[in-house]
């Protein structure tokens, strides 16, 4: 948190944003100074005019009043434009850096809400610049100029003004920031709990109503809401005190300066200028109390962001990657052990597997058996703790991840449909592909009717056209066929599909991968009589392996699952 300012400074320097930021700060300061000048010149004009000098003595002041009046607004306009421009540039820089940090494979899977919070955190930089840094800089310049002016007119008044500005501009914002941080520590869990209770009430409504637990759940949520309200009220008492304190300091400083000026007998002109300059010097300082509060929230966001940026990638890329062996590829997995957490149980515990060219292997087992982990290790998304994976004899630890995945890739569980045209969604798997190749890929994935109905240019995902689960998986399959890797991996291609769709897709998958080196993770046994080897994993170990007929002959997980599925299969018969 304390390092946030240096992080930001580094960011601004690297992004070449300092000159623009300086211009924005200067424009902001100029606007505040014009305001200060306006009131000082007006005060001087009026107090001097009261002494009834020649008109010529007033002309400079009259011109100054008018000039300041016009320039203030123009400077302010300039500040806001350059300030927002810098903020948007900084935001793009932060997003770029966040993306660069996320690109290397990571072992942890992040949910969509975590990602969207992360994106929100990256945007906090914008807030920091526009709402905290630039106003603070403008206030600082204005304060210094006002103090210098006062010191020149009456040193004691300058000293009083300095004290007042330091209290209202530094001490009060620091304490509101600290108070806001303290409040956030208590508010955040209460907000989280409330969101949880609300989600329970809405998502769990049938359960609650059926079991007569609605009233209990509603009053529990109301109680959490009331507790949150109490916390918010106590936070408001503190932040209200911050603003009130700043205003009190402003008023007392002005009175003090006026009394000192009158006492010192500097004359009515100087007294008026001193007092009114002090009054206006506080204008940019008063909002800093609220900026301090905001800074607390921004600091938390930046802290989270920093920890993301600082997290080292899950695996080391070799410094000088070896050359990828030429196809056909034989992959040998030899006794690998993988742990997701150092102290946790192994997800894979001594698994060996050989993928020979043209052979198809199915990987089955209960959830949590380590099937997806094995695929991740194969695609070099994580490093095994021990054991090795070799491609044509070359250890994949010596290859770059991108090279490995050029040879071994396929359909992952998190196949994503981008908010882009159907064509672009497919083309990411083959940027150089011709029209004919694109069409061939969707045809073989049996997605052609959908594509013809929807159109290649239709935007998918987000607020665009939607795809059913089956269509999504077929798009993912088309991507794999287009990319045409030497080794195809398929991770639960029929997950979340109804049984009819699932079996049709499996048939198509098996036809499409005929003669290709394939490793398929599945929880449905339909069509597995067509693969060369079936490997059953349980708790990170291989418990059974063999052909479909071999496994049916022996009692075990495979036969149990087959029996149960045969019962289900009557459904379609």
């Amino acid at each position: 948190m304390a390092a946030a300012p240096t992080e930001i400074a580094k960011l601004l320097v690297r992004g070449g944003l300092l000159p623009r930021l300086t211009w924005a700060a200067l424009a902001g300061a100029a606007a505040e100074l014009a305001g200060l000048g306006l009131i000082a010149a007006a005060a001087w004009l009026i107090a001097r005019a009261a002494q009834q000098p020649e008109l010529a003595a007033l002309t400079v002041a009259i011109v100054a009043v008018r000039a300041f009046a016009i320039t203030k607004g123009i400077f302010r306009y300039g500040e806001r434009l350059t300030g927002h421009d810098v903020a948007l540039r900084a935001q793009s820089e932060v997003r770029g850096r966040l993306y660069d940090a996320l690109v290397p494979a990571r072992a942890d899977r992040r949910g969509g809400d975590v990602l969207s919070r992360m994106v929100g955190d990256a945007d906090a930089v914008q807030d920091l610049l526009v709402r905290v840094l630039l106003p603070a800089l403008a206030a600082l310049v204005t304060g210094v100029v006002a103090v210098v002016l006062s010191l020149a007119l009456l040193p004691s008044a300058g000293a009083v003004l300095t004290v007042g500005l330091v209290v209202a501009g530094i001490l009060v914002p620091l304490s509101t920031a600290a108070a806001a941080r303290r409040a956030a520590v208590r508010l955040a869990p209460a907000r989280g709990e409330l969101a949880e209770r609300s989600a329970d009430l809405i998502h769990g409504a049938p359960d609650l109503m059926a079991y007569g637990a609605s009233e209990r759940a509603l009053s529990a949520a109301s109680e959490v809401g009331a507790r949150l309200g109490r916390l918010e009220r106590s936070a408001a008492r503190v932040s209200g005190a911050g603003l009130a304190a700043s205003m009190l300091v402003q008023g007392l400083t002005v009175v003090g300066v006026a009394l000192l000026a009158i006492g010192a007998g500097v004359g009515q002109v100087a007294t008026a200028v001193l007092a009114l300059t002090s009054l206006v010097a506080f204008e940019p300082v008063l909002p800093l109390a609220a900026a301090g509060e905001r800074f607390a929230g921004i600091g938390t966001a930046l802290g989270r962001l920093r920890s993301v940026l600082a997290t080292p990638p899950a695996l080391r890329e070799p410094e000088r990657p070896a050359a990828m062996p030429p196809t056909p590829l034989t992959v040998e997995i030899d006794d690998i052990r993988v742990r997701h957490r150092p102290e946790g149980p192994p997800a894979l515990d001594g698994v060996s597997l050989r993928l020979a060219p043209g052979r198809r292997t199915a990987l089955i087992g209960p959830s949590g058996a380590g099937k997806s982990t094995l695929l991740a290790a194969l695609m070099r998304f994580l490093d095994p703790e021990s054991g090795s994976i070799r491609i044509n004899g070359v250890d994949i630890a010596e290859l770059s991840g991108d090279d490995v995945r050029a040879g071994i890739r396929g359909l992952t569980q998190d196949a994503y449909v981008f908010h882009a045209s159907l064509r672009d969604n497919l083309r990411l798997a083959g940027p150089e592909a011709t029209e004919a190749e694109l069409t061939e890929a969707v045809r073989r994935a049996r997605l052609l009717p959908f594509v013809e109905r929807t159109g290649w240019e239709t935007v998918m995902g987000g607020d665009g056209a939607t795809m059913s689960g089956g269509q999504r998986q077929r798009l993912a399959l088309a991507r794999v066929l287009l990319a045409d890797p030497a080794v195809v991996v398929l991770d639960e291609p029929t997950e979340a599909l109804d049984s009819e769709t699932a079996d049709r897709l499996l048939d198509d998958l098996l036809t499409a991968t005929e003669g290709r080196t394939t490793l398929m993770v599945t929880h449905r046994l339909h069509g597995l009589d067509r693969v060369d080897e079936i490997v059953v994993l349980d708790a990170g170990r291989v418990v059974q392996r063999g052909s479909h007929d071999d496994l049916l002959a022996a009692p075990g997980y495979y036969r149990d699952l087959w029996e149960s599925e045969r019962l289900t299969a009557r459904h379609d018969a």
């Binding site: 016009i70 948007l88 049938p206 609650l208 109503m209 059926a210 008492r237 994503y416 149960s564």
Partner: protein
């Protein structure tokens, strides 16, 4: 002014807040008066140090009023949010099982939390400032009129320029902003989209390439935003110019009149200090208005969700038990937990009759159920099969009170269901939904959902019967394991077994199961089927099913298609009906 919102916020705390805000604004006038007196040395009631003392007191009072305003604004806002949130939650909760809320439910949860929090700037910022803006400029004008008519006229003529220009420029900006808005959100959303799709990009080796795309899209985003801001900030430029130029318009003639001796210094200083105060409240109001817009949008969303017209007539809209002929004719109502233990003699099951029941859902021409006749004998287990959308779940929802018949009636032991008090009738039911919700609390509390006072032994016994104990007892914290987002995640099969344990513990005479084995692998399915078999024993049961294994426990299989019952055949799995499926 948001009428619904203000009506809801009205109350002592809001009035104190508004009064404090206005009083603090009026003290600015007093402060200006005293400061002008102090600086000019003009004869006031008190002078010199005494005058300074009075001024300091006024300043301190103003600071105090500002604090009071903040405190009471927060009280108003928190009370308003609590009321609105409780209403929303109760309403959304009652509507949720009626269906339709699924797709938007995440959005609604956000609305009850962060959405309502965005009301704060409206209540604590905009409303008090609106009161200040209504009173203070007028008060300043009156004081200026008394002090110096010429200045008052200048202020009076320029003051309306702020709202006029504000509206004009604001309107212009709105057109430009709206034109840009759609493009902006798409560009802004692009980054999240790419980050979410990163695993896919990695697999296809496109992750690095996207880094340059992200930067170029961000640049496009920036130029588009800046084009909008250049216009949007014109409004503040104009408002700022009106205020500063008016000050110049006031100050210069005042100076010249001082020179001519037709004005005294005290009045001149008063005018100089006071004139800007006429413009400040309106400009601040403009700023607060923009900050409050998000809250207005949230309020609209909240009141729309609460509106009775949303989603048509919902059966749950009346408070549970209210407005019903609460004849307590349900048999065996008021059974406390333990009256019949899970393993003891099962309670006497009820007889259910659907008589020509038709159900219609708003916005759909075809009835969900069309004159359905179905009788379920006490202790009988009936499986409902048929394609999805046929109306199977609707039959269960009728019994649960999540849906109401448009025509026809449902008899429970000869008594019309509509005549039964809903909450008491539901005590006769145990329900396992298709996708049971596990609450963010311990496993034991999750099983206790329908029997909050059940002792742990009974919880464990129910879990054993539901085949849940075998995995729960292996967890390090056993039945005290916390579930939910921050706790443990369970597999689909484990969730079903927890839900079945709930039903065992509830020990109700009527059992409703909605596709209890959907999405389960073979082994979990076997465990759930076995538990369901035990659970249906001696209870009147209705099971929506589409996997053969669960059909094996039914006495009778009923096929539902397009809202009608098409065949009924004796079960179980070897029936000709099943083979024909």
């Amino acid at each position: 002014m948001h009428k619904d919102l203000v009506r809801l916020a009205r109350g002592r705390h809001l009035y104190v807040c508004l009064l404090a805000a206005v009083a603090a604004g009026l003290l600015v006038l007093v402060q200006a008066e005293l400061l002008a007196g102090l600086l000019s040395g003009a004869p006031l009631i008190v002078q010199g140090a005494a005058l300074a003392g009075v001024l300091a007191t006024v300043i301190a009072s103003r600071a105090g009023l500002v604090w009071i305003q903040g405190v009471f604004a927060a009280r108003t806002a928190t009370a308003l949010k609590l009321t609105l949130r409780n209403r929303l939650l109760a309403h959304l909760h009652r509507q949720a099982p009626g269906g339709g809320a699924d797709r938007r439910s995440g959005e609604l949860v956000t609305l009850t939390g962060r959405g309502l929090d965005s009301l704060d700037p409206y209540i604590t910022g905009y409303l008090p400032q609106a009161a200040v803006a209504a009173v203070i400029p007028v008060a300043v004008l009156i004081r200026l009129t008394v002090a110096d008519l010429a200045t008052a006229v200048i202020v009076l003529l320029t003051l309306p320029l702020i709202p006029i220009f504000g509206a004009l420029v604001g309107w212009q900006t709105k057109v430009a902003t709206e034109r840009q808005w759609h493009a902006l959100t798409r560009l802004g959303g692009h980054f999240l989209d790419v980050v979410q799709g990163l695993p896919t990009l990695r697999v296809f080796g496109r992750a690095r390439h996207q880094a340059t795309v992200i930067r170029s899209v961000a640049d496009a985003h920036r130029s588009a935003t800046m084009a909008t801001l250049r216009i949007a900030f014109l409004s503040s430029l104009v408002l700022e110019l009106v205020a500063t130029l008016s000050l110049a318009l006031v100050a210069v003639p005042v100076g010249l009149r001082l020179l001519a001796g037709s004005l005294d210094l005290h009045t001149a200083l008063l005018v100089l200090i006071l004139a800007p105060e006429a413009y400040v409240p309106l400009r601040v109001l403009g700023l607060r208005f923009h900050a409050a817009m998000e809250g207005v949008a949230a309020a609209d969303q909240a009141f729309a969700a609460l509106a009775p017209s949303s989603g048509g007539e919902q059966p749950g809209d009346t408070a549970p038990g209210s407005g019903q002929p609460a004849a307590a004719v349900t048999p065996r109502i008021g059974r406390a937990y333990g009256e019949s233990a899970a393993t003891g003699v099962p309670p006497e099951p009820g007889r259910i009759r659907f008589e020509a029941v038709t159900v219609r859902f708003p916005g759909r021409a075809e009835p969900a159920l069309d004159e359905v006749h179905l009788a379920v004998e006490p202790g009988e287990c009936v499986a409902l099969v048929g394609p999805s959308g046929a109306g199977k779940s609707t039959l269960l929802h009728l019994l649960l009170g999540f849906a109401r018949p448009a025509e026809g009636r449902i008899l429970i032991d000869g008594v019309d269901l509509a005549a039964l008090a809903e909450d008491r009738w539901r005590r006769e039911l145990a329900f396992v939904p298709q996708n049971p919700h596990l609450f963010a609390t311990t496993i034991a509390e999750n099983i206790r959902l329908g029997s909050p006072d059940a002792p742990l032994d009974a919880v464990r016994e129910a879990a054993v019967a539901a085949h849940a104990d075998e995995f729960v007892s292996r967890l390090p914290h056993g039945y005290d394991t916390e579930l939910g987002e921050r706790g443990l995640g369970l597999s689909a099969g484990q969730r079903q077994r927890i839900a079945l344990a709930r039903a065992f513990l509830r020990d109700a005479p009527i059992l409703l199961l909605d596709e209890p084995t959907a999405r389960l692998d073979g082994r979990s399915e076997a465990a759930v089927v076995d538990a369901a078999r035990k659970l249906t024993r001696g209870r009147t049961s209705l099971i929506v099913a589409h996997r053969p294994a669960i059909l094996g426990i039914a006495d009778r299989i009923v096929r539902v298609d397009q809202g009608r019952i098409v065949t009924a055949a004796p079960g179980p799995a070897d029936s000709p009906l099943l083979r024909s499926m």
